[in-house]
């Protein structure tokens, strides 16, 4: 597939996108140090810092969620590539406000390697940092083998909850505990319909026949569990939701947070239709969808498809999800 994108030179991609982003949202974020995306106004002293890392190209994550009530600092790498440990270490140091730092890492090989190296160095230097790994993609394998499960859009609610906890004055251990509780109660499943192109190379990141879709594909084209002929929205919703509800053993009477995360080329129209069926299924099973958001949180360039996310919520998690935040791509008043 031929790539049609509004870029200049591929090697300048990330620098230019960050520059443009910082100029557009100068009231909320800015660039600092070695290409770190930081809050325009630093967090108050005495509150836990929240930092994340990740490749560029998944939008508006992760840098889109830097701001009051969510992330203090995002360390963006090249397209689909993790940033290096030195910049991550710089971010951890910058985010320290006297109460320690929570480092949110999505389970992808490159990110984990960078994070581990960063943590080794951070601990050697006596930094007060704790790491949480998100790995909620049920297509990677069973819940009993979390290391095989990739971190997908679920990292975004984890950032929201951790950021809210930090803003509310939770200690580092308490921030970690509540973030981990959400992490253990969440599950995502992705479906892919058409591929995206890698903006630096112009190459398609995977191939799928015109009339097929793949449930369970990873966000860099990693093989999923099932290629199949295109299904209707209702059939897709039932198939995916069924697997997610089973994975988390969701019972009648429980409350869910639901996110439908567009992969980049899938319309809201389609996602609303999918959600309608999801709601019907949950209602029939006595499960309450307490909160829902349908948007692009973490795309894969112009891929067609979406990630379906559910999380079992309790009162504290709901309160943190509802807490105010002010980032360029998520505002809660």
């Amino acid at each position: 597939m031929a790539m049609k994108k509004f870029i200049n030179k591929p090697e300048d991609l990330v620098g230019e996108l960050l520059e443009g982003y910082a100029l557009a949202y100068a009231d909320k974020i800015r660039l600092a140090g070695n290409r770190l995306v930081v809050r325009a106004r630093r967090k108050a002293k005495g509150k836990v810092g929240v930092v994340t890392l990740g490749g560029s190209g998944h939008e508006p994550a992760l840098s889109g969620f830097v701001g009051k009530g969510m992330l203090d600092i995002s360390v963006p790498g090249e397209i689909f590539a993790a940033p290096g440990p030195p910049r991550c270490l710089e971010a951890l140091k910058r985010a320290e406000r006297g109460a320690g730092v929570l480092f949110i890492v999505l389970n992808h090989a490159g990110d984990v390697m960078a994070a581990n190296l960063t943590m080794e160095m951070a601990l050697k230097q006596g930094l007060n940092v704790k790491q949480i790994l998100t790995h909620e993609d049920i297509a990677g394998g069973p819940r009993s083998q979390p290391e095989n499960r990739r971190g997908l859009v679920g990292a975004v609610p984890v950032m929201k909850v951790a950021g809210a906890a930090a803003e509310a004055g939770y200690s580092l251990d308490a921030c970690l505990a509540v973030a981990e509780r959400l992490e253990r109660q969440m599950a995502t499943l992705a479906v892919a319909m058409t591929s995206a192109t890698h903006p630096s190379t112009g190459q398609a990141i995977f191939t799928l026949p015109d009339d097929e879709m793949e449930i369970g594909m990873g966000q860099h084209g990693e093989a999923g569990t099932g290629r199949m002929k295109m299904k209707s929205a209702d059939e897709t919703a039932e198939a995916m939701l069924g697997q997610l509800l089973a994975d988390l053993s969701v019972q009648a009477g429980e409350q869910l947070l639901v996110l439908l995360n567009g992969a980049g080329a899938t319309t809201l129209m389609e996602l609303f239709i999918v959600f309608r069926r999801m709601h019907q299924v949950c209602e029939a099973r006595g499960i309450k969808i307490a909160r829902a958001r349908i948007a692009e949180f973490l795309t894969v360039q112009e891929m067609a498809g979406f990630q379906m996310f559910i999380a079992r919520m309790d009162e504290e998690l709901l309160k943190l999800w509802d807490a105010p935040c002010d980032t360029p791509y998520l505002v809660v008043r």
Binding site: E78, G84, G110, L117, Q203, G221
Partner: protein, 213 residues
Amino acid sequence: MADSVGFDDLAIMLRAAAAKVVSEHETLSRLDSATGDGDHGTTMRRAMMVGLRAMDACTSRDLAALLNDVGWAILGVDGGATGPLLGTFFIGMSEAAGGRQMLDASALAEVFEGAVAAVRRQTKAQVGDKTMIDALVPAVEALRAAAKAGEGPRAALAKAAEAAARGAASTKDLRAKFGRARNLGDRSIGSPDPGATSVSLLFRGFADAIAAR
């Protein structure tokens, strides 16, 4: 140089290895296009350039400090696993070198074994998985075997370079188990792994530099 590698020898080895990789970076990218993003050569060239800059900036004449500076600089190179793995490689060498300033063949083997151990802490890849490990492990084993047989650093590094080249060539027929190439399954067979090829170029650089001393 005699039978030991000192600071100046090591510096020349590192520079020669970097030059070798930079001169072949387009080949590396071409190899990477077959099964990956096509950017391995560019990333390796960036890594070598930052490594060389770190060497220029290093004011110490301590072996471990030089290796650590190079490793830490390379760790920062963006572009997938290359920076972290290669950076870890040199940091591992630095840690194994400790305070030693002259490395005979046996100490050299220990230093490279330290590199392998450090890299293994960051990846589960084994020989046969079509990664840099396929060149690195045979190279270091050959180095150790040569040292055990009483050979000096020159001969040991030459044997290591040959083993690395054979290891890299062997990856042509392997199915990728790691990295983006893994997504291709059987379609990853038929082209050598770029990471393994880079490692063999590094060892060729090391060996050639020392052969000329």
